[in-house]
Every structure is written in C-alpha cells, then in structure tokens.
C-alpha cells in the first residue's frame, strides 16, 4: 500500500472531481470533496514521514522506468509543499460548505467542488512530479480550474479578472513550454534528475541560456513576481471568498516551488546565480515588490484587494530569500512559503466570514466590527500581526531567517529593507484595526451574530497554527533547513 501513496496523492482528487460533478443532490458533492481533501492530507503527512526517514521516494508511473517513463519524485522540498497544499485544502473544505452555499446558491455548488478538486489535483501534481513536461500539464490543470473558480465570483468584474488571468497565465505557461522544449532539444530528456545530470556536464550554450530565460519569466508570471503581478489583485478581489483564500494560500506557493525546482535542481546554483546574474535581478524585483505592493496596499478601501497587494509583497520576501542562494536565505523562503499560506489563508477566511454576514469587505463598513464580530476580527488581527512579523507569530520566524541569510551574504542593506518594509505592513493592518475597534458601531447597523462555527473553526485553525508555528518551530525550520541543504547540495 505505501509504495503507491505517491500515485494516490494525485489520483484521489482527480477521481473526486468527476464524482463531485455526478453527485448533484443538494450539497452532497461537498462530502466527496471533504473526503478527497482529507485523504490528500493524510497521504501527504505519511509521505513526509517516509521522506524524512528514507530520503528520496521515486515512483515509476505505470512501472515505466525513468528517464523514459514519468517519474514521481518526492524529496524534502516537495514533501513539505505537498503537506502545505493539502493541509490548506483540508482546512478550507469544511469552511467552504456554508460560504459557498451562501454565495452561489445550493443548485450550483457541485460545479464549485469539481473545479476545486481539479485545482487541488493540479497543484499536488505539479509538486510531486519529476518530469518537466508532466509539470506543465499539471500546471495547466490547476490554472484552468482556477480561472473557472475565479469566474464563479458574483461581481461581474470577476469575469474580466478571470479573463485577464487566463491570458497572462497562458502566456506564462507557453513560455514554460518553450523553455522545456529548448531544454529537451539540448539534452534529449525530460526527466528532471536526468536533465540536471546532463546540464551539469554541458557548457552554457545559447539554447540553454534561452531556455533559462523563458522558464524564469514564465514561472515569474505564474507566481506574480513584481512587475508580472498585474493579474493577481483583481483575481483575488473578485473571486468567491473561499477561492481567494485557497488560491492565495496555495497557487502562488506552488509556483514558487516550481521556481526553486528549476533554479536549484534542474539548473544548478552555479548556472542560475554564477553564470546568469539572477540573484541581483531577483533581489531588486523582490525589494521593489516588498515596498511598492505594500505601499499600494495602504491605499485600498477593499480589504480583499489590500490583502492581495500584501500577497505580492509577501511573495517578494520569498523571492528575496531565494536570491540569497544560501542555506538560511533559502530556508527563509521555504519557511515563509508555509507561514504565509497559514496567515494569508486565515485572513482571507476571516474576510469571508465578514462577507457572509454583511456582504461587504469595504473598509467603510468595518466600523465597530471588532465588537460586532469579535472572533472573526480577532482572527484577522492576529493574522495581521503575523504579516507584520511581531515576535511569537510565524511572520517573525520568516523575517528572522531572512535577516540571517542577508547578513550571511553581507547584504546588510537587504536586512535593513526587510525591517523597513515591515513598517508598511504595520500601516495597512493598523488602518483596519483603527476602524474596527476604535470607531463606534454605526447606529443604523443591524444586529449581527458572529460567523457560524463551521466557518470560524477553520479560520482559527489556520490563525492558531500561525501562532503555534511561531513558538514551536521544530517542524517548519527543521524541514525547511534540510530542504534548503538538499537544494543547494544538489547543485
């Protein structure tokens, strides 16, 4: 049984998707999705345990031996990202029931769960696969289903946001295919481990250089690296609440993982950061993202849009960690992947609770919200403290390792910029706190209860985890450091 876990990780959500389509009675498709997402979480947990003991798991799809057959290859990095994605999926599915029913009506919920399961399947597939072309196929499965999920938003602007994302996402994916094709032309293989071996022996040719360029730009579009982030704010703002939370916590994280995989495992550190000046390019873009996106976030009146811009800034921190190309920096990037998924997922879920009650996420409707929905607002504020990087939250851990990584490379200015940009996060979180807690409840505001427990509990699980992993860092830092060493050691 355990030898097939790698295949089941992808096959279970893939099979659940058509099942959700068939089960149309009321919201029974939710039960299928719940089963699928929890099964994924259990499998990814088992896989992580196996990988921590045995090292690398290699699964040969259909028993065809690599490099010709498709290989699923799980090392510490991919096992950790698998766990992040499936854990977020497992927490969000119970929440989705109330929220989705309220936002789409009970007749169309099965469509949501079908697309949701496909998206989960694609994201897990991207992470688990050891074959470059297979990666592209899974990336497109997750992207196509996320366009559908975004277009399900009630506001008509959700449609244009989904369309814009579709065009940019397809350009990004096509760039990735061009890059993979050029690599294939040069080396004659698509298996990632095989590619790495053959690329290591070859001098830099123009083909490899072009492949590198296409891949980096294509992946950067998918992960919304500044200035290729233009699709993200609208997509997250107008998508249904559950979708914003799910995509913010998983989709960009998986794209960051793909970047790590290509830069460190397929190309090597020498090529990515020695021959190509990628470290300085990533450094500059990451710093601009941290400042520009945070500054824009301060001026948003729509809180979902504020969080979306904050996501662009937080992706900047991850990329900054990668640009250091040392163990601490890389570990910081991987830790922040996990931490940001918890915090941003939790905060988007809290906004979803607010939207469920008052059908608005505009800051002007938040007056006195701290007293009207104390639990929800509490979750939002704790998540916000994490974004700022207050000690005892996960955000502090990420920034701590980022600063360590920066100092290790003697880039003290980068360390200073990390701290400075955190001040911008203070400003945009404080705006919300001020309105929600210090302004009186408007007199004509209707009496509302806090969100139902089915929505509050998942929100607090994510927010609670973001505090727990800020205090107990054994899992995150332990795995992330080993993962970073593995990535750097391979190169």
């Amino acid at each position: 049984m355990t030898e097939h876990l790698a295949a089941l990780q992808v096959v279970i959500p893939l099979l659940c998707a058509p099942l959700c389509m068939l089960v149309r009675y009321r919201d029974w498709s939710w039960i299928v999705a719940l089963f699928g997402s929890w099964a994924c979480l259990i499998i990814s947990w088992l896989l992580l345990q196996l990988v921590m003991v045995d090292g690398i798991i290699s699964y040969h799809m259909g028993n065809w031996a690599p490099p010709l057959g498709i290989e699923y290859r799980i090392d510490k990095v991919s096992a950790f990202v698998l766990l992040i994605v499936s854990a977020i999926g497992a927490v969000i599915t119970p929440y989705a029931r109330e929220s989705v029913r309220a936002e789409f009506g009970v007749n169309r919920v099965y469509l949501f769960y079908t697309a949701y399961m496909l998206c989960l399947c694609g994201l897990l597939g991207v992470t688990i696969t050891g074959d470059a072309f297979n990666l592209f196929v899974f990336l497109e499965i997750s992207s196509l289903s996320s366009y559908v999920l975004i277009a399900l938003g009630k506001d008509r602007r959700a449609l244009t946001a989904a369309y814009q994302y579709l065009v940019l996402g397809t350009i990004g994916a096509t760039f990735i295919v061009i890059g993979i094709g050029l690599l294939y032309a040069e080396t004659g293989t698509l298996n990632m481990a095989d590619l790495a071996k053959r690329l290591a022996d070859q001098p830099l040719s123009r083909t490899i250089g072009a492949a590198f360029g296409f891949l980096v730009v294509g992946i950067s579009l998918k992960l919304a690296l500044f200035p290729l982030h233009l699709w993200l704010p609208n997509a997250y703002t107008y998508a249904p609440s559950v979708v914003s939370a799910f995509l913010a916590a998983t989709a960009t994280k998986v794209a960051v993982y793909v970047l790590l995989r290509f830069l460190f495992s397929i190309f090597n550190v020498k090529l990515s950061f020695g021959v190509m000046p990628l470290d300085s390019i990533l450094l500059v873009l990451a710093v601009i993202a941290m400042f520009a996106a945070s500054a824009v976030a301060i001026f948003q009146t729509n809180l979902k849009r504020m969080l979306a811009y904050s996501s662009v800034a937080q992706i900047g921190y991850m990329i900054l960690g990668i640009s250091f190309a040392n163990v601490n920096g890389l570990a910081a990037g991987i830790i922040h992947l996990f931490n940001h998924a918890l915090m941003k997922g939790g905060m988007f879920l809290a906004l979803g609770c607010i939207f469920y009650r008052i059908a608005s996420v505009n800051i002007n409707d938040m007056a006195g919200m701290g007293r009207r929905m104390p639990w929800t607002m509490g979750a939002f504020v704790v998540g916000g403290l994490g974004l700022i990087g207050v000690p005892l939250t996960v955000g502090f851990i990420s920034k701590w390792y980022l600063v360590l990584g920066a100092l290790e490379r003697d880039w003290w200015f980068a360390a200073a910029l990390v701290l400075l940009s955190s001040l911008l996060a203070v400003v945009y979180i404080w705006r919300v706190v001020e309105v929600a807690y210090l302004k009186p409840v408007p007199e004509d505001a209707p009496e509302i209860e806090d969100a139902p427990p089915a929505m509050l509990i998942p929100t607090w699980i994510l927010i609670g985890a973001s505090v727990y992993y800020g205090i107990n860092t054994d899992l995150t830092v332990g795995v992330a450091k080993q993962a970073a060493q593995q990535l750097l050691g391979a190169g």
């Binding site: 072309f133 592209f136 196929v137 497109e140 196509l144 366009y147 559908v148 277009a151 008509r156 602007r157 449609l159 244009t160 989904a162 369309y163 579709l166 065009v167 397809t170 350009i171 994916a173 096509t174 295919v177 061009i178 094709g181 294939y184 032309a185």
Partner: protein, 117 residues
C-alpha cells in the same frame, strides 16, 4: 546559408511575435484569444521542428530504413494541443459571459463601465 536552412525557426519566431503582438495590442477579447492561439501554435511548430532528423523518415519500422525522426515531440505536442483547445474553449466561454454582463467585448468599453460602477 545557415539562416535559410533554419527557415522553420524563422516562421516560429514570426508566428510567436505576431501572436504576442495581437494579445497585447488588440482591445477585442475574441481577437486576444485568436492571438493567444497563434502564439501557442508557434510553439507546436517549434517542438515538431526539434523532432525532425535530417534524412529521417516517419518513425514506422520498415525494412531498409535506419534513420527515423524523433516521435516524442509530436506526442508532447498532442498533449499541448489538448491544453490549448481547453484554454481556448474556456476563454471563449468567459467572453460570452462577459458579453452578457457588459454588453460589449471591447476592453476599453469594459473599463469605462467598471469605472462608473
């Protein structure tokens, strides 16, 4: 004459740039999808060109033939074509919904409507 010998690649580059230009320059949402298709088609041609072996024939085992073209890129491109068709279908479906919601498929008019609301 090396440049002429690579004429397939020149076509690929031309199609790629033409498709990309259409996506960027046109306001009409359907035309953007068409541009995206041209862009993707250029990649299909690129892959198939990789697969060609000089003097090679179709990869069907037959007597007296020793050189075959590489069939793998063709198979990969079949997958990519499927992805491309799915993307086009979804894109056009979104355009239909946008047309229902806004009554137009011109991007600038959509921006004007969004600005008012």
């Amino acid at each position: 004459m090396a440049a002429v010998g690579l004429y397939n690649y020149w076509i690929v580059v031309f199609l790629m740039m033409a498709g990309f230009y259409i996506v960027i320059a046109h306001d009409n949402l359907v035309k953007k999808i068409v541009g995206l298709n041209v862009f993707q088609a250029s990649v299909f041609v690129l892959y198939i060109t990789f697969g060609k072996v000089q003097g090679g024939t179709a990869p069907i085992i037959a007597e007296g033939i020793t050189t075959y073209s590489n069939p793998l890129p063709h198979v990969l491109i079949l997958t990519a074509i499927v992805v491309g068709v799915a993307t086009t279908a979804l894109g056009l479906a979104l355009v239909i919904r946008i047309n229902e919601a806004y009554g137009t498929i011109e991007e600038d008019e959509i921006h004007i409507q969004d600005g008012e609301s």
